[in-house]
Symmetry: D2
Subunit: 459 residues, 4 copies
Amino acid sequence: VLTAAAYRESLHDGRQVQYAGRMVADVSSEPAFQPAVEWTARGYAEHYDAQPGAVGPYFQIPRSVDQLRSFEARLKGWDMATIATAQGLLMAVTAASRMRDRYPVYAERALAYFEDIGRRDIRCAMAITDAKGNRSLSPGAQPDADHYVRITQTRASGVVIRGAKMHITSAVNGHELIVMPTKRMKPGEEAWAFAGAVPVNAPGVKIVATSVAQDDPDPDRYPYSSAHAVPEAMVIFDDVFVPAERVFLGGEVEHSGTWAHSLGMWERLGNLGHLIDVAHALVGLADLIAEANGLSRFAHVREKIGNMAIYATMLTAALDAAITNADVSPEGYVSPSELFTNAGKFHAAEHFHAVIRDLHDIAGGAVLTAPSIKDLSNPDVGAYVEKYMRTMAGISGEYRMRLFHAIRDLTADAYAGWLTFTILLGGGGLHAQRAVTLKHYDMDTARRLALEVTGVTAC
Amino acid sequence: VLTAAAYRESLHDGRQVQYAGRMVADVSSEPAFQPAVEWTARGYAEHYDAQPGAVGPYFQIPRSVDQLRSFEARLKGWDMATIATAQGLLMAVTAASRMRDRYPVYAERALAYFEDIGRRDIRCAMAITDAKGNRSLSPGAQPDADHYVRITQTRASGVVIRGAKMHITSAVNGHELIVMPTKRMKPGEEAWAFAGAVPVNAPGVKIVATSVAQDDPDPDRYPYSSAHAVPEAMVIFDDVFVPAERVFLGGEVEHSGTWAHSLGMWERLGNLGHLIDVAHALVGLADLIAEANGLSRFAHVREKIGNMAIYATMLTAALDAAITNADVSPEGYVSPSELFTNAGKFHAAEHFHAVIRDLHDIAGGAVLTAPSIKDLSNPDVGAYVEKYMRTMAGISGEYRMRLFHAIRDLTADAYAGWLTFTILLGGGGLHAQRAVTLKHYDMDTARRLALEVTGVTAC
Amino acid sequence: VLTAAAYRESLHDGRQVQYAGRMVADVSSEPAFQPAVEWTARGYAEHYDAQPGAVGPYFQIPRSVDQLRSFEARLKGWDMATIATAQGLLMAVTAASRMRDRYPVYAERALAYFEDIGRRDIRCAMAITDAKGNRSLSPGAQPDADHYVRITQTRASGVVIRGAKMHITSAVNGHELIVMPTKRMKPGEEAWAFAGAVPVNAPGVKIVATSVAQDDPDPDRYPYSSAHAVPEAMVIFDDVFVPAERVFLGGEVEHSGTWAHSLGMWERLGNLGHLIDVAHALVGLADLIAEANGLSRFAHVREKIGNMAIYATMLTAALDAAITNADVSPEGYVSPSELFTNAGKFHAAEHFHAVIRDLHDIAGGAVLTAPSIKDLSNPDVGAYVEKYMRTMAGISGEYRMRLFHAIRDLTADAYAGWLTFTILLGGGGLHAQRAVTLKHYDMDTARRLALEVTGVTAC
Amino acid sequence: VLTAAAYRESLHDGRQVQYAGRMVADVSSEPAFQPAVEWTARGYAEHYDAQPGAVGPYFQIPRSVDQLRSFEARLKGWDMATIATAQGLLMAVTAASRMRDRYPVYAERALAYFEDIGRRDIRCAMAITDAKGNRSLSPGAQPDADHYVRITQTRASGVVIRGAKMHITSAVNGHELIVMPTKRMKPGEEAWAFAGAVPVNAPGVKIVATSVAQDDPDPDRYPYSSAHAVPEAMVIFDDVFVPAERVFLGGEVEHSGTWAHSLGMWERLGNLGHLIDVAHALVGLADLIAEANGLSRFAHVREKIGNMAIYATMLTAALDAAITNADVSPEGYVSPSELFTNAGKFHAAEHFHAVIRDLHDIAGGAVLTAPSIKDLSNPDVGAYVEKYMRTMAGISGEYRMRLFHAIRDLTADAYAGWLTFTILLGGGGLHAQRAVTLKHYDMDTARRLALEVTGVTAC
């Protein structure tokens, strides 16, 4: 288990990171990456354990419903890179379990990887979404064969891969990339059926980062994102060698979907848990700002807060049911019910915009037009700003302004855009989430109930 | 435990039932009441137990989460009168528990009543909603003091009550009415703070029934409602005497809300369970009719079925979470979480209309214009009807017509109106359900999370 | 122009109508058809004009925006059979205009038909929707070639057709059927590209009727539907001969879509106008019942009425814009903008269910459980019913009960099912309405605006 | 009519503008204000007319429906400061018309002001929303009497005012503030019933600005907002003297609501027109990005684009109907129908979030994670970025990236927050817009239609 300082030092490993048109010399001191690096560093500090052989609590496979419930509860408190690492490794273990019968070698490699990462206490990012080219064509039919990551050479010692992956959270501030197919490949598309692990500093890996963090984020103006914004990246694999022991899938198209499915399950669990906390925080912000504005007893305000609370409660119910009704693998690994996690995820995405609308309607325009906290100490106008932003005894101007800035940061500024997309598209967009739910829905029972109602015994 | 025949006979007890402007001489043979009477009779037949001292499985107080889960699972299979009886008695026990400290006599009477009903194996209907008069005035301020049921005389042996209760399901085909205040009464409104049990044939009780059942329901045209439509009633209490041992609240305004709250909890659990079955049946009908129409692979049809399945799944999650997170009373009675049952109930009511719209959009206009099943045996046109209503091998015209009739009966005819209202207003309408959810929502935690996001330590 | 009596007499023309498994001997006296026959008769009575050569005002082609506006305003006051006739003939004229260049003979026949119907002052029903068989197969690919109406023989004097049409409103109480293809046919499907006019009593025409009217509708219980419910029918064409002068399309597949498109335009205009009246009536019912319940000043009730009023207003805006932005044909025929009528129709269908939910939430459960009006004159309970259903000075029990019954009849009973389907599916269902709107939407301008925003000059 | 240079120069007038905690020395060169200053300057350049006595086309009172239609069409092309000026002056004229009977002096002053502004060709900002303090207390009941702007002294030559106004768009880059009460005042609140005009550089006026523009906005990253972001401001009136000829209301509480109502009408017209352009641009972006992604033919993508097009079309219909059904004042001033503008505005706000969600779902995560345009010219990775961001022949990586950046700028970044709030709260929030619609809705007709349906002739 590393210290925070060792973690920061570990980022000086020769990784090639580009940002805003230029090469980043030092990832750990680039202002736009600071929120993510420092969040991860706080996570290391918190879990630091000097005992030899200590392993972080995030390297764990739940083996009962109770363990799963407790895992989910703790996961919410971790930094995003650690959450991604925990999810990614559980995904690897789950996928390994599903491939064990036909491909025991991949299962062994995945488990060995799980152990190795735990021993080194490093952080992994998931690399899933390909460049994709023309969405109406399958990987093998793209004019540019590299639009999905593919194996360009197979050697005895490993394979060489080429392509690009999109939307990689924590590539900049993590250590390894777990690469996997974005979708099921068909026979003939063996070259694109690749999964494996690649260090971010491997030769040929090029990271092009973006960030919703400001170049010099002011915590007064960005109370949440200045400590939590994470960079995203496009990662280019320019003929990167992957040694055999890090190849988890090498052309077996029938298992190309196994990885994304396995990830989906764990990723949506983490997402849903995080979202529930976001949802509760939004309810709380609505309640606090209603109180600060003197609106707490207005009927239409109570209604909106009630709707928001019901949203948060329904998400909580979905997660709770996903855990209570967990699936168990032959090895005894316990994973959340796909039916309930997907339905919950869909519900979250479907209605999130309405929740934001309700919060904005309660809070009012000062979310955007509240003066900056710095204006409070401006000798020319500071006292006026305080005077006019306060509303009643116990609600100072500064306190109310901080609420407005927090609401703006979370729901109406650059970070809000990132959050909205994560909620909407994490797990694949409404269409994909609906389809996965339907796949796990017990349609036979529904049809049987329908026939009973109809009074028909058979079709 | 009674036989079905004994149950039918028990309805000849002198009850005064009016229907469509006339007195009903024999409740058990009145065509519009047949579906309800026979449904209840089937329930008696199913549970009949000749053993002396046998008690129906519906007279039970869950004492663990597992017992609650199993109780809920079985409850869904019972007839509506039995469900209401089980819920009503659990309500009485719950309310008794909550009043025990200050009013042990009421707690004892309620428990004695629970035992007595079990021993006699009879059915109870809940009498809650008052006539209400002008909704903007409280009970004590109504020009007509009888617009909420009230005590007009108090005697040593009991009390006399007057007023009317609305929307009483199963009054016609049950045996006793559990009467309770529809809302919290204020000091000065002691006369309206009454709860107690009254047989439907007590002197002064007058039942004015309505029904969505047809006067002579054709099972081919009404495949579901011909066996499940239940009459509703307005029940008039024209100075009815209630003996002291059946009075559960006699003027103690501070407990006037306890009854409705206790009922709400159990009623919404039963409602939600029933609704989940309805929701699954609607998904099944959508899937079957899409298949019968040859639409199964159309993207927009898959989307609608997916939306419906997610609706059903979210309700299931809410119920599951309500049970997993059950409340426990000091006596060890285990009851569903009010937060989750209410949120689930609200969600069901909020989105039910959209579910129906999706089903209708998939099924198409033949839901209303499909010829009758009788037309199939009409020598002039029967063969044509079969020919033109069938769509492909394996989907006969008759089968498809029966699906249409079932969809119409459940979602676009007289019974559908009743079902829609039950879902929307059972538990008090969207406004009330939202308010109850909010009351049980953990706002302190939400505010704490919001303050963390805001970076403010105290208000 | 006929008298009401002449109209009723005209129905004794040998038509073959089946209903509920039996042949109907006399359409004009069959109880379930009475509401429609008498509504149409009232229309005849209202427009009767003894002047020789007089022509009903519904036989008219608008030639300016003002004429179109005035036509639409008057149309809303007509009975449904007359509205369908006016729309059907305008459709024929519009389709004729569109086919004139290549097929002048059809244009002439359609215009001659228009004149002839006007002279005879009879009523036409539109016969569009085919039996359709398996929706995933096109007409020519169905195992049963008759699943779409087709020409089975072509003779010098005309053609013979076979098949069935569904959802034909007013076939029972009208005189002629205007038959047209339900969709665009492809080359090779010439036999199914048929449009023409057929009297309902032509040999081989068999009508299988359904109705949402009660067998003996009680105006107290069904205040609206007892005077306005219209029968629907499946019409079977069992090798029916159509003389050449009544054939408007006979195999020209490139114009097979012209008819449905032309009808769509006029039908959606009529539907939208009718719907707007329904929407305003629902707002009015919400306001009246809120007042009668004493709820007028409750904030959540004001909100729901406001939402309903906005719904009605947006529909009004769509119709108004459709007229203001009317299209003009080369002949100077003025027809409503397809963009706005379709968008309005979609909006109406998309949100109708939510409007009903709001009305139900305001009105409360007495919509379904209010005693019958007959119970008011029941000597045993009449006075009690009046006492408990009244709410305040000026709101009698009877008045309030009549509001409840009207709301039930329109929104929660058999007629409500019909109305809901008409709103949802009239014009082809949400999917079709969306597609038609998109087809008429000015996407080029939208893309140009988007490129301006993007700062890109060309793709 | 001023030149662009003269306009820029006019901003050096001693105004006191604070931003981000410091005094702004030169408004016209402050980076965050550049987009607004230059947009306004472009407007001046476009309308410059060297003719003596020339008056800008935005200083105009529509006197017919056609003039109103043409005014609205041109207004959409103007910069925001000019739009606000045109709306503000029309509001003043409308309010003057409504006060003329009792207070002709105010009407004359308002008209003289209209003329004067036109002659000087300057720009006005509306100052409406007060600090408000505790929303549950009225202006006169606030602990701090200054929480609503009020008259602190009345002199023969004018009045002195104190307080603060919020959300003032274009205060920084305009010339005068039209100050008016935010709501109706009650008797006893005469001091708060003030309307008048105040130059932004009047002694005692202090402007505290905020901006969603970046400090140095990059047009490649912010293609729209870098040219269109406008600063907002809180404006403090620290005992500011207003000469009598610029006082338009001075204590007459019965007209305190007239100003906000008059403004509402014109503001919502301008908003709605602007929103329609935004809506069309969003549809266009959805269509372009669907095409660029290869998704154009996917059914669920067509559906979402269809929904977006219907949204844009319904807003267009509302605006069109508002103009067609315009109101006319006694003086012949023609103004848009309040019923339709409000309903349209409500609809826009109610559904905007869903439109954004649909666009995001189509566009995908690259909206946020697309590399910057600068990365294209990065020698290390530029060619890779182009290679992997392109999708097919004709869709270059750069073009597609520019679409993503435009979508992010408009819908998922700082400017998007501002736009969302403007749409939601411009015109007062959903609650206020609903209430205003209801006020103008013809409820009498709706109730009459409802009674007809009910078959009751009078209540």
